[in-house]
Amino acid sequence: MEQIGILEGRERQVLEKNSGVAQADIACDTSSLSGSVSQRACVFCGSRVVLYPVADAIHLVHGPIGCAAYTWDIRGAVSSGPELHRLSFSTDLQEMDVIYGGEKKLYKSLIELIEQYKPKAAFIYSTCIVGLIGDDIEAVCKKVARETGIPVLPVHSEGFKGTKKDGYKAACHTLMKLIGTGSTEDISKYSINILGEFNLAGEAWIIRQYYEKMGIEVVATLTGDGRIDAVRRAHGATLNVVQCSGSMTWLAKEMEEKYGIPYIRVSYFGIEDMSKSLYDVAVKFPDRPDIMEAAKQIVSEEVKTLYPSLQKFKKALTGKKAAIYVGGAFKTFSLIKALRSIGMSVVLAGSQTGNQDDYARLKEMCDEGTVIVDDSNPVELSKFILEKGADLLIGGVKERPIAFKLGIGFCDHNHERKIPLAGFIGMYNFALEVYQSVMSPVWQFAPRKGGTL
């Protein structure tokens, strides 16, 4: 096979697991190399995806039009009520605004917007250029908040000020300003917040239902199907349950410090991790054994129907190989386990934003010979997919057409998933989607699989 080089300067972000020799740790938490075709995005993107699902707030992007246009309804974060988050609001900054400042335009836009939509709160996202021209967004927000009586909250998400992870942090920082401003009266002692669950394809509803069935009150989901009033009283919960470690751990830590709320990290993907996420919550309420009983009951019932239904997929998929390249590393762990449970091995595992601990754990979990990458690019991904003979790629929008050009199956485990992949039902959906894609007859027509004229 033709050897494709790895980008110079990226050697330390790629690793092939080989237990025989001592290996250096993978380098991560770095910015992308200038000139690389990176799959990563920016600070603004990170903030935008985290706050986006809050459905009864307006999300005003302060900057030139692009930042608002590209993030208009891109995430299938479902709301059970208002859908203000699915509209696109921008101050559409022009050259004169860049020269003379955009504060007036921001003020006018906010007033117009709040008058038009009467939202519960407003989030104002700073973009690159706002960071440069020095608009005092804080002051404008304070003024508008005073005049309109609703929380008007700046999000410091200038694109160049770090990576997507810094955007998550900026979003969490904004949420912290809301948390603690609502009444915690009537909140049960047996209560949690669900953090880092964005209700893509309705996943938060599934998870919430499990916990409620266990007799636990869910105070707020941050931010899936999110509501401002719920966020404001989130400090009344007894425990924070954090999924998608990358985006919300910071918030959990802050809430622990400020409100003394402990947190646990969970994952809702795959039978093993889903069950664990119920048990891990139940053990936090030892004075209520019925909660653990209920958790066991749910798991046993769900698994009883799920397990047999997975066997037909497992039979067909055993021996097939998968490549995983997703945003957060925590998701990779779950996916490896979930794939194993349907007979598939993982030959490539990587993430855009994993940290040192994540990669150490990833290496421990992976089989010999698995390639581990941080902040990868299309050249590397296709190289390893071909070399390792993967049958499936799990990734996001920019990875999808690469898989299809190579002639292998694909599963979107990112913003564009169309069916819930979380929870027990989600595991079934995941197996079905993987099965349908990997086993599809279309691949036989691909030249690589011998499909020529």
Binding site: S31, C67, A69, Q94, K398
Partner: protein, 460 residues
């Protein structure tokens, strides 16, 4: 309903844009650059810009879209992006091995005052550009114009930075493509062949963004205008620029640099615009219109006559980009339909004037707005005040179509939820026939859906 918040009463807004009918310059520059063979577009700004543009183009074309980024950090934003760009040029030529890097700026690099001309010159002086390779650039600040402006700027960059005049004219013509799909560009090349003229078409995204499945992921698909072709454009007899906003600036630049005369035409969407396009070729190249083309025209006219009764007086709302909207509006008027609301987020006096002139002559009561606050929210409000039978525009129109329960045809950029635009042209007589078929299907399907049982017709 998602847009139930849209109020009927239209109030003048001074700051706010709601649901934009445009996006920013850099994505247009990236799209244009993909129409050069062996070219890697490069975004000189934060990582996010490049990522968003690639994602949007990928969603629109269902194809991998390759582009690199300078990955600005806080340091670069304070000290300037030169170091980033120079490092990027090194990395790109070493690893991704393109023939050309086409750099475009962003609001960030423009605001800190990065000068791409000076930086690319420095790269050259420092020996960072290998023999036979090129770095071209276009300034594309996001706070001016729209995605169409960015496209025009990059195409102009191609003309000014590649075209050479050797003093010896070549027996060829330039066709400067306004923003159109790979399918449209392929059709332009077919038509030129049928007309018997040699052309240099630039940019040309056919065989780049409609590439076949080969089992390989290639960075540089076989399509795209070559460097040799671009260089030779300075020796062409004349240029035809398709689109006054997206193509004409390049034609003007080429005339200035290499004295290639030009004529600006509409993108040949619909009967009249295609007529003008074919006649312009015939005139400028001194060729007669072949029977094949006349027959294509005849077929389009035939269907226009056959089906006129279903279209007469039907009200249409449309939004999109200037160079598409003008000929499309004309086509709708030729079909005896009524374009009642027209919106484009792209500003421009020239377009404003051209559209006003067309409307003053043939449809003076039409609501038309372009530029700031000419967004889909306004269009939706107009539609609430004067309902329409059909909406034409990019994918984002689906919200309004659903909310108002009216037929909808996807046309323009981006189309994120259907395929076809990359493969079937909307230009020329054949493409216009396809567009007409879509319009008819949308309206007649609706008529069938709404017909009372006794009025439900078999023969239409």
């Amino acid at each position: 309903m998602l847009l139930r918040h849209t109020s009927k009463e239209v109030k003048v807004r001074e700051g706010l844009t709601i649901n934009p009918a445009k996006t920013c310059q850099p994505i247009g520059a990236m799209y244009a650059a993909l129409g050069i063979h062996g070219c890697l577009p490069h975004s000189h700004g934060s990582q996010g810009c490049c990522s968003y543009h690639r994602s949007t183009l990928t969603r629109h074309y269902k194809e991998p879209v390759m582009a690199a980024t300078s990955s600005f950090t806080e340091g670069a934003s304070v000290f300037g992006g030169q170091a980033n760009l120079l490092a990027a040029i090194d990395t790109i030529f070493a690893v991704y091995e393109p023939d050309i890097i086409a750099v475009h700026s962003t609001c960030l690099s423009e605001t800190i005052g990065d000068d791409l001309q000076q930086m690319t010159k420095k790269a050259k002086d420092d020996g960072k550009i290998p023999e036979g390779k090129y770095v071209i650039y276009a300034s594309t600040p996001s706070f001016i114009g729209s995605h169409v402006t960015g496209y025009a700027n990059m195409v102009t960059g191609m003309a000014t930075q590649f075209a050479e005049s050797t003093g010896v004219k070549k027996s060829q013509f330039n066709i400067i493509a306004g923003w159109m799909e790979p399918s449209d560009m392929r059709e332009i090349k077919r038509l030129a062949k049928v007309m018997g003229i040699n052309i240099v078409l630039f940019p040309d995204t056919s065989d780049v963004l409609d590439a076949p499945q080969t089992g390989k992921h290639v960075f540089y698909p076989k399509g795209g205008t070559t460097v040799d072709e671009l260089k030779s454009s300075g020796d062409s007899i004349a240029s035809l620029a398709l689109g006054s906003v997206s193509a004409e600036p390049a034609a003007i630049a080429l005339e200035k640099k290499c004295k290639v005369p030009f004529e600006t035409l509409d993108i040949p969407i619909g009967l009249s615009a295609t007529d003008r396009f074919i006649m312009a070729i015939s005139k400028v190249a001194g060729v007669t219109v072949p029977e094949e083309v006349t027959a294509d025209r005849g077929r389009l006219v035939d269907i226009m006559c056959d089906m006129e009764q279903y279209l007469h007086g039907k009200k249409v709302a449309l939004f999109g980009d200037p160079d598409q909207l003008l000929p499309l509006t004309e086509f709708l008027l030729d079909l005896s339909m009524k374009p009642v609301h027209i919106v484009s987020g792209t500003p421009g006096q020239r377009f404003e004037k051209q559209m006003r002139q067309l409307l003053d002559e043939r449809s003076p009561e039409t609501n038309f707005k372009s530029g700031l606050q000419a967004d889909m929210f306004l269009l939706h409000q107009w539609m609430k005040n004067e309902p329409v039978d059909l909406l034409i525009g990019n994918t984002y129109g689906k919200y309004m179509a659903r909310d108002e329960d009216i037929p909808f045809i996807r046309f323009g950029f981006p189309i994120l939820d259907r395929i076809g635009h990359s493969y079937f042209p909307n230009i020329g007589y054949g493409g216009s026939l396809r567009l007409l078929e879509k319009i008819l299907n949308a309206i007649m399907d609706r008529q069938d859906r709404d017909a009372l049982e006794e009025k439900f017709e078999l023969v239409m």
